[in-house]
């Protein structure tokens, strides 16, 4: 009987110890906080590996109704700022110490990342208003600047690799690329069709994009054919109700006309 009591006591004790150890383990595991979304915000420049992870996280790591990083949120503002920081690609693409081929490869990969970035902030609410218009436009501006660099590097490489950079086939390829670039820029102007989806601040930011990036494009390729762009700008001018956007479109039309005039003279 005494031996049986001791056995029972030991069994009881072992069970209690197991419970205590299990509880300790649970406490340890639950105390280890794992952040839901991780971004390398301390890193000075985001490279392609960072974009790979961040873009995938922003595209697929958030639930449908979960708040995305936004400029208006002081806690997550830094994430959008880092994501759309043009220095991330400029630091490589503008570095003349790096080889042209390498920079071109990096530009191509950044361009591919940017294509995926376009899906992050394009959600609309029930009134067909953009939920994140300023963030979406920041992504757009990132892409417009990137394309300007990317297409220039690509064309430089075509000329460098050609036996005769002045041959008609090389010139034709370069011109085709410039036309593609212009056509890509036109997609930005098409957003004026969704003008009502933007907030007033968004419209101002959109107009700033025309002023800054379209001017840079035309200054960069003054001899290119901008008739399609002029036509599109004129159509959008009729459609737009925003004074700021209208003013930017007028400036763009004038700039194209002035370049054409200079070319003809």
């Amino acid at each position: 009987m005494y031996l049986q009591n001791i056995k029972d006591q030991k069994l009881n004790l072992m069970t209690k110890i197991r419970i205590v150890l299990f509880a300790l383990l649970c406490v340890t595991l639950t105390n280890c906080k794992t952040e839901k979304h991780k971004f390398p915000i301390d890193k000075r420049y985001w490279d392609l590996n960072d974009y790979d992870k961040v873009v995938l996280e922003l595209n697929y790591g958030y639930k449908a109704d979960e708040k995305l990083p936004a400029f208006r949120d002081p806690e997550t503002r830094i994430i959008v700022e880092k994501l759309t920081d043009q220095q991330n690609f400029n630091i490589v693409l503008d570095d003349n110490e790096l080889g042209l081929k390498h920079r071109n490869e990096v530009a191509e990969k950044f361009f591919s990342e940017w294509k995926d970035m376009n899906n992050i902030y394009d959600a609309l609410d029930r009134k067909d208003k953009y939920l994140y218009d300023k963030e979406m436009l920041a992504v757009w501006h990132f892409g417009l600047e990137l394309q300007l660099k990317y297409f220039k590097l690509g064309n430089d490489q075509i000329k460098k690799n050609a036996d005769d950079p002045n041959s008609s086939s090389v010139k034709n390829n370069v011109n085709t690329n410039v036309s593609t670039l212009i056509t890509n820029y036109l997609i930005y102007l098409s957003e004026i069709n969704n003008e009502k989806a933007f907030t007033e601040d968004g419209k101002v930011k959109f107009a700033d994009g025309i002023d800054q990036y379209f001017t840079a494009l035309i200054e960069h390729y003054p001899d290119a054919d901008y008739s399609g762009m002029k036509n599109k700008a004129e159509l959008m001018l009729k459609k737009s109700e925003s004074d700021k956007i209208k003013s930017s479109l007028n400036k763009l039309i004038e700039l194209i006309a002035s370049k054409k005039e200079t070319k003809n003279n």
Partner: protein
């Protein structure tokens, strides 16, 4: 490649679902090791508390014995681990003076790294440990830069990452540059003054650390190649200017 990418939405790829792997926290691993290692101690502690009410002192003695042996075993392990993290004595190589600079390759980076797995998410990283060593004698001062192979680390010894090696080796050059700067200032002293010499060395060490940080920040650990090249030119040119302070020893005999 002739024609660049077409309209951006025309080239859209299909991305799969991305499930970010959850890395196990280092603290969690350490806590688990601690718990498992000390589990017999906890067991005997529990027994001791339980039995102490009945006046049974044997479990308490057993607990103390287990605790003593557990600590006696873990402390040398922790110390050994700490020593190896600081300097890899299992693969030791004496510190290099600057005259052996050209012989340095990643083969000389013999340090062990148990904790740091990446630098800004990049697993291909290295670090170098250098110092300005000084010895003040009766009428002479020896100042020289040292590179510590057994404290310097590279993720893979046979890597052919020349840019990374160049970046790390310029850290060594920067240390040498500041050692020469210190010798330049010491040489300009009118007489041997130990306090002033110590002050110069301390100040130079501070400036050197600041410059090393600035070098890493501006080159972003060699990522920004144009900045890397700018620093290389600057450091090489300054080292050339201070060539006369190449010798480690400064004698004060003729000045007294």
């Amino acid at each position: 490649m002739d024609i660049l990418s077409c309209l951006y939405f025309g080239c859209m790829g299909v991305a799969g679902y991305y499930d970010q792997p959850k890395k196990m926290n280092d603290y969690l691993i350490l806590t688990l090791i601690f718990l498992v290692y000390f589990s017999p101690v906890f067991y005997h502690l529990y027994l001791a508390i339980k039995e102490s009410n009945g006046g049974n002192k044997i479990p308490l003695k057993k607990f103390k014995k287990f605790l003593k042996y557990s600590i006696a075993v873990i402390i040398p392990i922790i110390i050994g681990f700490g020593i190896l993290t600081h300097t890899n004595f299992l693969n030791y190589e004496r510190p290099f003076t600057f005259d052996k600079y050209n012989q340095i390759t990643f083969e000389n980076f013999r340090g062990l790294e148990f904790f740091k797995k990446s630098l800004y998410g990049n697993e291909r990283f290295a670090y170098v440990v250098t110092s300005i060593e000084s010895e003040i004698n009766h009428n002479s001062v020896t100042v020289q830069s040292l590179f510590y192979p057994s404290r310097s680390f590279v993720y893979k010894k046979n890597t052919n990452n020349i840019e990374l090696l160049t970046h790390e080796k310029y850290h060594i050059k920067i240390t040498e540059l500041f050692a020469r700067k210190a010798k330049e200032q010491i040489s300009k002293l009118n007489r041997f003054e130990k306090d002033k010499i110590q002050g110069i060395i301390r100040e130079t060490e501070k400036e050197e650390r600041e410059f090393q940080r600035e070098y890493d920040y501006n080159t972003f650990h060699s990522y920004v190649l144009s900045e890397q090249k700018r620093y290389e030119k600057k450091v090489d040119s300054l080292l050339n200017v201070l060539t006369e302070y190449k010798r480690p020893k400064i004698e004060f005999n003729d000045k007294n």
